[in-house]
């Protein structure tokens, strides 16, 4: 396994060396290939995981589909590549994927040292703790000496160390790279608590042998703006990804859904006309079809639809909109004007 991993990383390094000059325009490359390669989680219910029939489902997956739809007008022109927390950024840097939609937190270090650009967050998250009810713990401050299950290579791993340090608590991390293996070890009692982004905890709790035996502690110990990421140095591609996410939000702001988008084409509102490409300009500016926003909303839905479909109240995750509501409803989702 070491050998395989080394070879993979080495090949990445070589590819980084050999094919660098070919990425002049990711958008052109993607058009030439005929599909977008999107790095996703692969094992996170609600964000990126194939269902029982092998169909990819999740908020990040739908974001990837929206990007494909913006370019090709067809949400199926996408290839999902499951990545672990450890391999995700190398895969993006080396060009194995075109865009990373894998619940990755935007941080200064990743924007700079890792050479990435993060687009508009598609989910505002925060880190919490999942813990068996039977331990009788009410607050994270009571976790002194606990064994903590955590994924390696995540901001989570650093946050939890910071949190325990700043509160003068001791911890014993149990670090397993595979999400499913980590959850198995936690449910078997190898750790006292599992720490991760609150949305992930909800997803993990949903697949627990008996979800009611576990609670999520009230403390949220970090800010985790989860956003799609692209490589530094390709502004056109960055605009396409960024504007695709913003289009999902803007559609919800304008009240356009996959159901009513055809009627909205007849709207007299100039904002709606510009957004849906009835009055042209936006598409050309981005290097996309004038109908790109129409296609996204028609075939994938707006942000609210995607949220409710994957993680919302009527899913096993049952997450409230909270920070992810529109700004007009007290959340953080806000789109600049499409003009």
């Amino acid at each position: 396994m070491l050998l395989r991993k080394l070879i993979a990383l080495l090949v990445c390094a070589l590819v980084l060396g050999l094919t660098g000059t070919l990425w002049a325009g990711t958008l052109d490359d993607v058009r030439a290939k005929g599909f977008v390669q999107v790095g996703v989680n692969g094992d996170l219910f609600g964000f990126g995981k194939p269902d029982a029939k092998g169909v990819w489902k999740g908020l990040d997956v739908d974001t990837g589909r929206a990007i494909a739809t913006a370019i090709f007008g067809d949400p199926s022109k996408v290839k999902f590549i499951p990545l672990t927390a450890v391999t995700r950024f190398t895969a993006l840097q080396s060009g194995e994927i075109d865009v990373l939609c894998r619940n990755a937190t935007r941080t200064l270090g990743r924007e700079t040292a890792l050479g990435l650009n993060f687009a508009q967050p598609n989910y505002y998250d925060g880190q919490g703790f999942l813990i068996p009810k039977s331990l009788g713990v009410k607050s994270a401050k009571e976790l002194d000496g606990a064994a903590v299950c955590v994924l390696p290579g995540t901001t989570t791993e650093l946050n939890v160390a910071d949190y325990f340090r700043s509160n003068g608590l001791k911890m014993k991390p149990v670090v397993i790279e595979n999400t499913a293996e980590l959850a198995k070890a936690f449910f078997a009692g190898r750790c006292d608590c599992l720490t991760s982004d609150a949305s992930q905890l909800a997803g993990t709790r949903a697949v627990a042998p008996n979800p009611d035996d576990y609670i999520i502690l009230p403390e949220i110990i970090s800010k985790e703006p989860l956003a799609p990421a692209v490589r530094h140095g390709d502004d056109q591609w960055y605009d396409v990804v960024n504007m695709t996410v913003l289009a999902l939000i803007n559609a919800e702001e304008l009240g356009i859904t996959s159901q009513n988008v055809d009627e909205m084409l007849k709207s007299k509102d100039p904002k709606v006309q510009r957004f849906l490409g009835v009055s042209p300009g936006n598409g050309k500016a981005l290097g996309l079809d004038e109908k790109f926003a129409y296609n996204i909303i028609k075939q994938v839905g707006n942000y609210g639809e995607i949220f409710e479909r994957n993680v919302g109240k009527n899913t096993p995750l049952g997450i409230e909109r909270g920070l992810n509501a529109l700004w007009t409803d007290g959340g953080l989702m806000y789109s600049p004007p499409f003009k």
Partner: protein
């Protein structure tokens, strides 16, 4: 003109340098070397250029930065406030720990099973055969998953820990054992043991020389055991025979005090040892079988006891066959220890992976991983080659 157009054949081969095989091969070698160097230069410069274009950080400056992540177990004091260099050192030590203990146990178990495989007792040899066939054929990663799951699924939580013997607790957090509470006597006993080892070595040399000179034997084994046990015991008594124990006790979520073996370490060690020992057993069996039966019969007819037959005749010849493949199994065990990532033991690869991810410096990280494993392997090989030379038959 006619002369230069058709010189004699002998002159042709001598005058044209490319017709000289020695020179020609030099030219080929230089050409290949040049191509490799050019390729390396191209790859390195291109990688650097691309890394710079994407503004990815390079260099080893990150080693001095604060790691800010915790590590589950460590042989040296470590906290999240330490540097990446220290974190990586913790990983190196953890890899060394599991490899060293693993190699020792593998050689012991492998030898036992290998000898059992040759036993004339039908049941014993069949059981050894089944062990070898089954464990050799299951991928080691699966075995690791099995043992890890076995530990955390089968064992109770710390609050219901099994307590088979006073001072020993077994739970899904691992095996906790009472150890003698810290006292200066223990340090001095360690030194006494070291001194005893030195004395035994000198004693053995002296006994050999004497036997060569006079033919008289000396009971080195038993006097050695006496020295190794007696000297530390004497020191312990001199220090007033401290008996206070540091017993693990449940505090909050976990046990405090004593020493512990984590389920991750136990699963990794067990998986690697059981898997590799199956191969070692076959190597040992092959080595012993390579010594022809006539040798044993000849030694017996000289009147040597069975123990001496094995020690003086069979083993020296068998080891020649055993050592080289045994070395490669030791290297395999060390390299396979990197599978630790899968079951959460913080070995070097695990720590280096986290470092790569937090700093984004994959090329430096992978280079370090390769260098560390290369060093481990070269050191193991060097030691085993030295040993192999030492035990090689000296023809007189």
């Amino acid at each position: 003109m006619a002369a230069s157009a058709s010189p004699p054949d002998t002159d042709l081969s001598a005058s044209r340098f490319y017709n000289d095989p020695a020179k020609r091969s030099l030219i080929y070698q230089a050409g290949v070397l040049l191509m490799v160097a050019l390729l390396a230069y191209y790859l390195i410069s291109n990688t650097l250029a691309n890394v710079e274009r994407q503004s990815i950080a390079t260099g080893f400056g990150f080693l001095e930065k604060e790691a800010s992540f915790e590590i589950g177990e460590s042989l040296v004091p470590y906290s999240a406030a330490d540097t990446y260099a220290r974190a990586l050192w913790v990983g190196v030590l953890n890899t060394l720990k599991v490899s060293f203990i693993g190699i020792v146990l593998t050689v012991l178990l492998g030898t036992l099973v290998g000898i059992a495989r040759l036993s004339t007792n039908w049941l014993v040899s069949r059981m050894a055969a089944v062990y070898i066939e089954v464990l050799q054929d299951i991928p080691v990663l699966l075995q690791l998953f099995f043992w890890y799951a076995f530990f955390y699924e089968m064992l109770p939580s710390p609050r219901q820990a099994l307590n088979p013997i006073a001072g020993i607790f077994l739970s899904n957090r691992g095996l906790m054992m009472a150890v003698p509470a810290s006292h200066p006597a223990w340090d001095f006993m360690g030194w006494a043991l070291l001194a005893a080892v030195g004395l035994v070595w000198l004693l053995r040399r002296w006994a050999r020389k004497r036997q060569a000179r006079t033919g008289q034997g000396f009971p080195v084994f038993w006097s050695g055991v006496g020295l190794l046990l007696g000297l530390p015991l004497l020191v312990w008594l001199l220090w007033g025979a401290p008996t206070e124990m540091d017993v693990p006790h449940l505090a909050g979520f976990n046990f405090k005090g004593g020493i512990g073996i984590s389920p991750e370490f136990a699963a990794l060690l067990l998986g690697l040892v059981l898997y590799t020992a199956a191969f070692v057993a076959e190597i040992v069996r092959a080595g012993i079988q390579s010594v022809s039966k006539g040798q044993t019969e000849a030694a017996k007819s000289l009147g040597l006891r069975p123990g001496l037959v094995l020690n003086l005749v069979v083993l020296p010849q068998a080891l020649r066959v055993i050592i080289p493949p045994l070395t490669s199994q030791m290297l395999n065990l060390t390299k396979n220890s990197s599978l630790a990532v899968a079951i959460g033991y913080p070995d070097f690869v695990s720590v280096a992976n986290t470092t790569i991810n937090q700093t984004g410096q994959a090329i430096e990280g992978v280079a370090m991983i390769m260098i560390v494993y290369l060093c481990f392997s070269l050191l193991t090989s060097a030691f085993m080659n030295w040993y192999n030379k030492k035990i090689a038959l000296v023809e007189r």
